[in-house]
């Protein structure tokens, strides 16, 4: 399977076979991501890291992934220090970054920014999140986390909880989980329900996602509880945000009736939706999940930029 110079914009650009291939290849990356083994297969390669919006995990893990593969990173984490501030178009910034590096990773507050970037770059573009749009590498690391812990995705009961309307990770994830045969349940405040078009996409793969409001009932026979933050920055008005934040909370009480093997995931950062007491339980997997961002991004960078595989 050839991924050389391939753009990574949306999980929908990848087939089931391609996703499985990437996830399998990611397993090989784990000892390198942990620093137990060393490689320089991307020596002399430069990644341009353009973060027009704040990010901790995604940016650092992309940088770490590139460094672990022996490559180098240039870029910015704060657009106020760039020509964007002077009114430069994204297209021009991309043309410039394209001539400085072998690949571009971009996070941008506007949906479609990464897709647009591919039209102005010869080098491959990796989407690190475009507004409320796509975040394919987060999706892949979520899938990798489930496979690593539960050995498979097909047939597992997965609950997606929280902001299902604005949350970019849950849209890509619902799509990919349906493609890979998981059973989905959506739990959210009424005003933050999963958009109709996402549900329709899930149904195209034969999935029959259910939407319920009772979290206890949903968690009872779940294998995965995927929690998301209610994102203040995506809300049109503060009043609506205050009304729904804190409506659902994952705490040790809730987990009393859960399956022993239930895993709790969260793309982080969390605010109030998971009680810190949950961190001490064997269910909590979100920090391990955050680490998985490194091997997944290493796998992608290596497949896209490398002359040989590990």
């Amino acid at each position: 399977m050839d991924f050389k110079k391939r753009d990574v914009i949306s999980i929908k650009d990848f087939s089931k076979e391609e996703i499985n291939y990437i996830l399998n290849y990611t397993k090989k990356m784990v000892p390198y991501a942990k620093g137990e083994k060393h490689t320089d297969i991307l020596r002399e390669k430069i990644l341009s890291s353009l973060f027009f919006e704040p990010s901790t995990r995604t940016r650092l893990s992309f940088e770490s992934a590139m460094n672990r593969l022996g490559g180098r990173v240039i870029g910015f984490a704060d657009p106020s220090a760039t020509s964007q501030k002077k009114g430069e178009s994204l297209a021009d910034t991309i043309r410039m970054a394209d001539s400085y590096a072998d690949a571009i990773v971009i996070r941008h507050p506007q949906e479609g920014a990464a897709r647009l970037s591919t039209e102005f770059a010869e080098s491959p573009v990796l989407n690190a999140g475009d507004g409320a749009g796509q975040h394919p590498t987060q999706c892949l690391l979520d899938l990798f986390t489930i496979i690593t812990e539960l050995k498979k995705i097909k047939g597992n009961k997965i609950v997606l909880l929280g902001d299902l309307k604005y949350g970019r990770t849950v849209h890509s994830l619902a799509y990919a989980l349906s493609l890979l045969g998981a059973e989905l349940t959506f739990v959210s405040p009424e005003s933050l329900k999963m958009p109709k078009e996402v549900i329709n996409e899930c149904k195209e793969f034969g999935a029959e996602p259910s939407s319920i409001s009772n979290l206890e009932r949903a968690v009872k026979d779940a294998d995965v509880l995927y929690v998301t933050r209610i994102q203040k920055e995506r809300f049109p008005d503060a009043e609506e945000y205050n009304r729904v934040v804190g409506m659902y909370k994952v705490d040790v009480d809730l987990l009393k009736n859960a399956k022993e093997g239930l895993i709790i995931m969260h793309p982080l950062p969390r605010v109030v939706e998971i009680d810190p007491e949950v961190d001490k339980t064997p269910h909590a997997l979100y920090f391990k999940q955050a680490f998985n961002g490194i091997p997944v991004r290493m796998a992608l960078l290596s497949l896209i930029l490398g002359d040989k595989k590990l």
């Binding site: 949306s10 929908k12 178009s89 994204l90 297209a91 941008h108 507050p109 506007q110 949906e111 479609g112 920014a113 897709r115 647009l116 039209e119 475009d130 507004g131 409320a132 749009g133 796509q134 078009e197």
Partner: protein, 150 residues
């Protein structure tokens, strides 16, 4: 003999089988009356074999393909008849292309295609009747297409 409510035209375009009530939207996308000084006739809720329909007749103007695409977005069952010297010289049903470029604005205000970037809006066809299109950039389906036609 009964007289037709709208008389035949010598030269121009007859847009037939418009979804009832949508004739005004068709006029809007064709930028009528601003774009023409010729006679334009509109008939609404006209009885036909397959129920009611609207009809628009525009004299001395033959629609270009881009205008036909726009009509397909709001009246997917419409037919376009090109008239020359009272004869129908061309007749076809509107049909949306798989990709719609530069004629609809994305309804997502934070879509990059609405920013000052050197690209035209671009949509992929989801279904043609009722028309449903998805932005190539932000992947959202556009709501109220008629209002978003450029």
């Amino acid at each position: 003999m009964k007289k037709l409510k709208i008389t035949p035209i010598k030269n121009g375009t007859v847009i037939d089988h418009i979804t009832p009530g949508f004739a005004v939207k068709v006029l809007h996308v064709l930028k009528i009356p601003e774009s023409t000084s010729s006679v334009v006739s509109v008939a609404m809720n006209v009885k036909s074999r397959i129920g009611k329909k609207d009809i628009v007749k525009v004299e001395n103007r033959e629609l270009d393909p881009k205008e036909v695409d726009k009509i397909a977005l709001i009246a997917p069952k419409a037919t376009i008849n090109i008239i020359r010297d009272f004869e129908v010289v061309e007749k076809h049903k509107v049909q949306l292309p798989d990709e719609i470029v530069g004629i609809v604005k994305c309804s997502n205000p934070t879509c990059i295609s609405n920013a000052k970037e050197p690209v035209k809006s671009r949509f992929l066809l989801v279904s043609d009747d009722p028309p449903s299109i998805k932005c190539y950039y932000c992947e959202r389906e556009t709501e109220d297409i008629a209002e978003k036609i450029i």
